[in-house]
Amino acid sequence: MKTNDVIFQTVAKVVFFMIIFFAVRIFFAGHYYPGGGFVGGLLTSGAIVLLLLAFDMKTVKKGLPIDFKCLIGLGLLFGAGTAAGSLLFNVPFFTHAYDYFQLPLFGKTSLHTAMLFDLGVYFVVIGVTMTIIQTIGESE
């Protein structure tokens, strides 16, 4: 049945950004605080799900034209690529490297290849959850 979801939709737009920001924070904090790519990814897809709930599949697809299955591939590519990067340096697979850099605006920041790996996890998780949800949603 058709309902007027104006309240929900309006709020969802706001909350979406809140969740996304929170997710990104959780993702970046992973190495130092609880969190990480996995939870971050799940939260991000949670945000997308919220949009899906408030609107519908068609609208969201138009707004976010991403093939989530390719996102899975991309994530795996990040993950495996980061790990395989060590092959180039002839150090054991999965050897991470990190250093501290002075960056404008951010200040002293550690850049860590593990972060790239975590990014892979993040993408995969988004891809996986969204693929599942979309597929089931479309199955009607």
Binding site: M1, I7, F8, V11, V14, V15, M18
Partner: protein, 112 residues
């Protein structure tokens, strides 16, 4: 300073907890889903906001830790709680849950 903050924290905590209890009590006691929803969406929300505020002050006072996440949490509740209540009631109504038999009026029945 610590004493004052302690008092504030204790107050907020207990008030929050009490409100939550009231909400729960309301949810148990009130007769139909709409009225229960009143209890849940108001008291529980305020209760949790009190407690979060207390926590915020707790960490601020103890560690000097300014937890933006707590503030964010409060804001989040502020925004979402009424929407959740609204959606639940609407869902209940649309799925045909009857109102309490002492209810007196239903304008929604003849919705355009």
């Amino acid at each position: 300073m610590t004493v004052i903050s302690d008092i504030i924290i204790v107050f907020l905590l207990l008030a929050g907890a009490f409100l939550s209890l009231v909400a729960a009590f309301g949810v148990i006691r009130l007769p139909d889903v709409y009225t229960r929803n009143h209890a849940a969406s108001k008291s529980a929300t305020l209760g949790v906001m009190f407690i979060l505020l207390g926590t915020f002050i707790f960490f601020l006072a103890k560690d000097g830790f300014f937890s933006s996440r707590l503030l964010l949490g409060i804001a989040f509740f502020f925004i979402t709680a009424p929407v959740a209540g609204h959606l639940i009631s609407r869902a209940a109504y649309n799925s045909g849950v009857k109102m309490w038999d002492k209810s007196v009026r239903d304008d929604l029945k003849n919705k355009k």
